[in-house]
């Protein structure tokens, strides 16, 4: 019965707007089946988590108040007084962390399967930009509860920006809305978090998704080399979509489980004049950068170690974004191709630095 009504509505729309292109696309879009198929789902999960962020973010906006005198109290209010406020806030925090995690997994899976190669260069670049903005979301959102930990993490984070030559200092002051991290920084981060970033983010996300729909799923080399009759596909709709949905439901359930059993502590209200509490740590996804900057010596050949580190990460990020345009000669007798090796080294570096950061 419900199906009938649905069909009627679709045919009503089809009559007026001609849905055949969309229909065709859905019908013809297919997903290759092979031993690495599972990585196709990572992007979908990331997208789902982004949607969760969007929804919970909008909900939190109804009660959250920016400002030095209000931010902490309003978050406290959301968590204790508003019905299900604890759930919405914790889902927002957890989802943010999972979003970054899945974005990283998605990125590296794309990297290792070489899906960024021609003709998908722009998909990679928009994806990278989305990742940068995701991190910016995380960084700006972290300060909003205006608690001690966030306050000092933001202080340290913006300080690091300040070491970049020439543009660093003005950029730091621009980010902080003044010389120091104050209520002005909070207002600024709030604006960035709820208005500026979402606007830019949506543009790049739309492009990213459009590119994917236009070009279809990437087929890895070993799959491409198969004889035509051995290539297995499943239709995107409904088979792959159903699987996607299945995964989303599971992820969502895990999300509320985490929100309920491992709620994010609100901590103490930020006090600009208090001494920094012990164990100031950035969010885990900045930890590897934070830790490597900490491990660098004070001076490397007349240049400040920290500056060198920041420049290195900047350049490395830029090179990483331009990976599709970098040609590395294939070494037929190498067991692992040079680019893959570089990827493995990068992943290992990130993992090791993160672990050190939490152990030391």
């Amino acid at each position: 019965m419900i199906g009938n009504i649905g069909n009627k509505i679709i045919s009503w729309i089809d009559e007026r707007y001609d849905l055949s292109p969309l229909n065709n696309m859905l019908k013809h879009k297919k997903v290759p089946v092979h031993k690495h198929s599972m990585w196709y789902y990572m992007g979908g999960v990331t997208l789902f988590l982004f949607l969760v962020q969007l929804l919970t973010g909008i909900l939190l906006l109804l009660y959250y108040r920016p400002g030095e005198d209000n931010a902490y109290e309003s978050v406290r209010f959301i968590v204790t007084e508003v019905r299900f406020g604890w759930l919405i806030r914790n889902v927002h925090s957890w989802s943010a962390n999972l979003l970054v995690l899945f974005a990283f997994i998605h990125m590296f899976s794309v990297f290792f399967s070489k899906a960024y190669e021609k003709p998908r260069e722009l998909t990679w670049i928009t994806g990278f930009i989305i990742l940068v903005f995701t991190l910016a979301f995380g960084f700006s959102g972290y300060l909003l509860p205006w608690n001690e930990l966030a306050f000092f993490a933001t202080k340290v984070g913006t300080d690091i920006v300040g070491v970049v030559p020439v543009i660093g200092e003005p950029l730091k002051i621009f980010l902080r809305g003044g010389e120091e991290v104050t209520g002005a920084t909070l207002s600024r981060f709030f604006g960035i978090h709820v208005a500026i970033l979402p606007a830019i983010f949506t543009v790049f996300l739309t492009l990213h998704l459009l590119f994917i729909q236009r070009q279809g799923m990437h087929e890895p080399e070993h799959f491409k080399n198969l004889p035509e009759e051995k290539k297995k596909y499943i239709p995107f709709f409904p088979d792959f979509a159903l699987k996607d949905l299945l995964l989303w439901v599971i992820v969502f359930n895990i999300l509320i489980f985490l929100a309920l059993y491992f709620p994010w502590e609100l901590g103490n209200k930020a006090d600009a004049f208090a001494a920094a509490p012990a164990g100031i740590k950035p969010e885990w996804y900045f930890m590897f950068m934070f830790q490597s900057l900490k491990l660098l010596p004070a001076h490397i050949l007349f240049i400040e170690g920290e500056l060198l580190g920041v420049l290195f990460f900047g350049v490395a990020g830029f090179v990483w974004m331009l990976i599709p345009y970098i040609k590395v000669k294939r070494k037929p007798n190498w067991k692992i191709q040079p680019l893959t090796l570089i990827g493995i080294i990068i992943v290992a570096f990130i993992v090791i630095m993160t672990v050190i950061g939490y152990l030391v």
């Binding site: 088979d239 599971i250 309920l260």
Partner: protein
Amino acid sequence: MRTRFFYLSIYFITISSLLGVVISGQKENKTIQSSKEDHCYSCHKEIDNLPKDFSENDIHRHANISCSSCHGGDPTSDDQEVAMSPSKGFVGAPKHKDIPKFCGKCHSNINIMRVFQPRIATDQVEQYYTSMHGKKLLTGDENVAECASCHSAHAIFPAKDPRSTVYALNVPGTCNKCHGNSELMKKYNLPSNQLEEYSKSVHGVALLKMKDLGAPACNDCHGNHGAMPPGITSISHVCGTCHVSNMEYFSSTRMAKAFQEQDFHGCEQCHGNHTVLKPTDEMIGVGKDSKCVDCHSSGDEGYTVAKKIYSLLTNLKNQFSLADAKYLEVKKKGMNDIEIGFLLQDAKQALIQSRTLIHTFDSTKVGAKTKDGIEISNKASLLAQKEIDEYYTRRNGFAVATLVFLLVVIALYFKIKDKKKKTEK
């Protein structure tokens, strides 16, 4: 020749004025010789012969009062023979028994003292001679404390200065120098464990451990210059200077009168003196720690009342700790605890007031307060329970949601399997 004459005239003026002050107490501050050109200090420092307890920051030295102001002599001469000649009024170190008078030369004279501190007391010496220390000193006892025993001789600081031997935190130690000497105290038939006892008491812990200057030191109960053990009749008043309500309640009861008739020691009778501990609820009632049963026995009115008050108190205490435990649970669970906190504060207040009201020995008065407290505690308990329930409802809600999602997952799983079969066919 001229300079000598000049000096001589200065000596003359100072000595005559010194004499004048001692006799009439009129010509005040000219006696206080400036220590600017002070050969006492410079010579004694040079030969490393300053008094053992000498401090550069001593209050007298700070006020530019020279050694010679107390010890006499001529500070302007660098010749020992001249400077320390008795003809120049040099008196040297005063004898033990003369010290109060020695200090009193200035300290009993408001005309001298007000120059330095307008509202300073000048009755210390007078008070001192009313104290046990003073009385014994007059009989020629060489062991008793005089001014310098407590204040030191050359490292004197105002009582508010933490470096002072009579600074609140240092008072117990200062008194203990003599009163902790069991051999010395044996001569006077006095115990020597007061400091030990005091350190264990609420007052001692507050002062010595928590450095709370509001807590009483020895002198707050015994007086300082007129130090004496408080008399039986005055004990309640001594304690009552701080514990006002307790004294008021107590002194208007029949018990107070009975205590007097029996020569009982007021507050001390139940609470002890130097070892005043944090009172427990078990001190009332008829249990083994009860103070009431010292006099009252089963059957008499006091016994019944004690039993009643004890049960009232424990009742409130139990209700309160029940609510408090729930409050902690609410806090731990990250639920809303503010309102419960306020209620518990009120309940705690009722408990404190009930405990104070014990001193009326009136079970109806105590009962009215405990009833208030129990009502508030129950209200807090109820509110806390609501929050705790809410917490578990969350988990139930989660369980239900998970069940629903599981259903979807299973349905989807089979659906996908079906599709797969279809495509394979």
